[in-house]
């Protein structure tokens, strides 16, 4: 039981980083629909960085850079060229898939044995990890999980207790008002998406550097979209994102557990795999009052 929960916290890590990044972007009115591609680029960046340099730190930095670059292209086309966000996101996701698959081959050819990297080690935090039950669940995780812990309060404080957060929230609700108040709407949107991309890249790297130790083009398998969904379901609030993330992390941990222990006898494996997606649909339908940023998805155009 404890191992399932430990696993749940671990599997929540990328979803948390990704969904909070999405919360920030969407608060400015920008849906990062390229998030699946950003995750993938991050996963790939983490892998090649680590594999080539032998250093996980370089790997993580490469992941951040890849996510950032993907977001740069996405943000440029959506913010400054004002193109439809869902349409551009689709193109970016296809492009990311192409880049990873093609350049994986350019870099490594056709390897005879699967390429492996060593994954991030668990770092038990002294004292805290000695707490019974909770210690094992929360404080024997890898560095990415601890980064995610830090991101929760920091993101909340930035969003609600600083002038930057006020600007971010205003830009998504009423860009004209922000503009009139001397805030550069497009610059806030653009830079927030870039930061979200960097965190999205870090989130993606979890799947290679933090978990599997290898790269395949299907490694993300819709988890970027789940982070996207959590942002909606968490009502565009970091607190909501934390809660949503844990639910999905738990579903994923149970799924992995059942697959590994032959729980198929209880219910079909496929159902367990589909659980997070069914959950998303159910919650999307059930949830009534959304606090959706008023100008979500709408480009800002000053004059016509």
């Amino acid at each position: 039981m404890i191992s399932i929960l430990t696993r749940a916290v671990m599997m929540s890590t990328p979803l948390l980083l990704g969904s909070i990044a999405e919360v920030f972007a969407e608060r400015t009115g920008m849906m990062v629909t390229a998030i699946e591609g950003i995750f993938l680029m991050g996963a790939w960046g983490g892998f090649i960085g680590t594999f080539i340099s032998g250093s996980i730190v370089v790997g993580l930095l490469t992941a951040v850079l890849m996510g950032f670059l993907m977001a740069l292209l996405y943000a440029f086309i959506t913010v400054y060229l004002r193109q439809q966000q869902i349409v551009v996101g689709t193109a970016m996701n296809i492009l990311a898939g192409g880049i990873c698959a093609y350049f994986q081959r350019v870099l490594f050819g056709i390897p005879t044995t699967p390429l492996q990297i060593s994954v991030l080690e668990k770092i038990p935090i002294p004292i805290l990890s000695d707490i019974p039950v909770l210690g094992e669940i929360f404080f024997e995780q890898n560095i990415l999980t601890y980064i995610a812990y830090l991101v929760i309060p920091v993101s909340y404080i930035i969003l609600f207790k600083t002038s930057l957060g006020l600007a971010i929230r205003s830009v998504g609700e009423n860009p004209e008002a922000a503009d009139v108040s001397g805030i550069n709407v497009n610059r806030i949107r653009f830079s927030t998406v870039l930061v979200a991309g960097a965190f999205g890249g870090l989130a993606g790297s979890f799947y290679t550097v933090g978990y599997l130790g290898m790269f395949t083009t299907g490694i993300i398998g819709g988890r970027g979209w789940i982070a996207f969904a959590i942002c909606f379901l968490g009502n565009w609030n970091p607190k909501g994102a934390v809660f949503g993330t844990l639910v999905f992390g738990l579903a994923e941990a149970i799924s992995i557990y059942l697959q590994s222990t032959g729980g198929i006898a209880i219910m079909p494996n496929e159902f367990v795999i589909a659980l997070p997606y069914i959950l998303t649909i159910a919650l999307t339908i059930a949830k009534r009052s959304f606090n959706v940023p008023a100008k979500l998805g709408v480009p800002y155009l000053k004059e016509s």
Partner: protein, 505 residues
Amino acid sequence: MAENAVELHNVTKCFSKVIANDDVSLEIGKGEVVALLGENGAGKSTIMKILYGLYSMDEGRIVIDGKEVRIKSPKDAISHGIAMIQQHFSLVFPHTVTENIVLGNVHGWLDLKEAKEKVGMLAKKYGFPVPLDARVGDLAVGVQQKVEILKALYLDARILIMDEPTAVLTPQEAESLVSFIRSYAADGNSVVFITHKMKEVMESADRIIVMRNGRITGNVLKSETNERELARMMMGEELEVESEEEPIDVSKLPVSIEVVDARKKNRDGIAVLDGVSFSVHKGEIFGIAGVSGNGQDEICEAISGNMKLDGGKIIFEGKDITNESVRKRIEEGIGYVPVDRYKDGMVMEMTLSENMMLKSSYSEKWVKNGFIDKKGIDEYTDEVIRDYQVKATGHSDIAHNLSGGNQQKVVLAREIDAGRHAIIFNQPTRGLDIGAVDRIHRAIKGEKRKGKAVVVVSTELTEIFELSDRICVMYRGKIMGIYNRGELTTGRIGLLMAGVEDGKA
């Protein structure tokens, strides 16, 4: 004036379809109140938005305090002491009053305590009581405007620009705004207010700049002009005084629309329709006056079926249609020109033909076996373009390439055709130039003479008086009274609009 706070020299600005400002030069003195007067679309807001950095000019220079400056964004303008209050307020509704006031003017931590103290002081000085922790979206428009003004004061603005500041105010609120403007200017600050209402100009301005078609057509001191001269500068022609129509006795006419005790609460539980009852007869124009936002839009939406009532009934031609769909009501012959044609009246990206058949997609008129009779609708649209003198090249023009007045003519033609028995016009001439207004007024009167029941909602008293056979005044979702045209004076209707019972102060 001894010294100019702002000078604009030879400013030209083109939008993709319009030359909005054509070689405009003007100056604003220190301590001076300048009214920028003109019809909608004359270019008044554009020139001020250029000064405030919201629009970039194609050509021209800006001089502030004798020095040439470049203003590329509102941030630059704010740093030169300029503040501008937009016609549609620039407030973030889910945020608090204080958050709105400090937006763009705080750095680092959000220290609202200090801000609140300063705002509280300013509020006291100018007599603006505002709840600092309330959500702006919950406040009445009059209070929201005070928040906007406080924001400008918080920024230590020396030059305050206000775009149509009285549009949303009751006459009494407008008066208190004017007294604020006077005392603010007395401190040496400058005020520009953009308006198309002549009365206001004569009350509060020191100097009046008149614009028409993107150019300045007059620049006069108030003491040296009169309303007639201003009107000529604005319109380019003398205002025609409409000859009064024969008063009619509606009691002899059959009833068409009957609204019985209509009730509706909005999302916050505030009554927007609070027991509204009236009936409209065939062959009369029933005018509904009031400051906008007092339930007029809701009553139109209720009659046309776009809003469900919480209580009460709508009877049309003797039938209870309270629970009928919009489609059914259209089939019954109710036409409706909604207040916002961009949002509710037209599909701007579609052609004129397509807009023409918007309401007939279910009827057999232009649809045979599910297929559209394109030739029929195209020919009909061309006919409308001719009859209503719509400035367009033909039926395949895209709606949004037309000017506002021409778009409105298309909507009007469609609704006059669809409204076989009754037509509701909500602000039919808002934002249109004088020529278009005249043509539309004539069309509305024509429909009345055909024996249709006509409802006209307007916030412009001149329009109400010109068209209506009977006038009702709405205030906070209630009817203050129903009067024959002759019974009301401008003063009395102003008090009724402000909620004073019987219009006697």
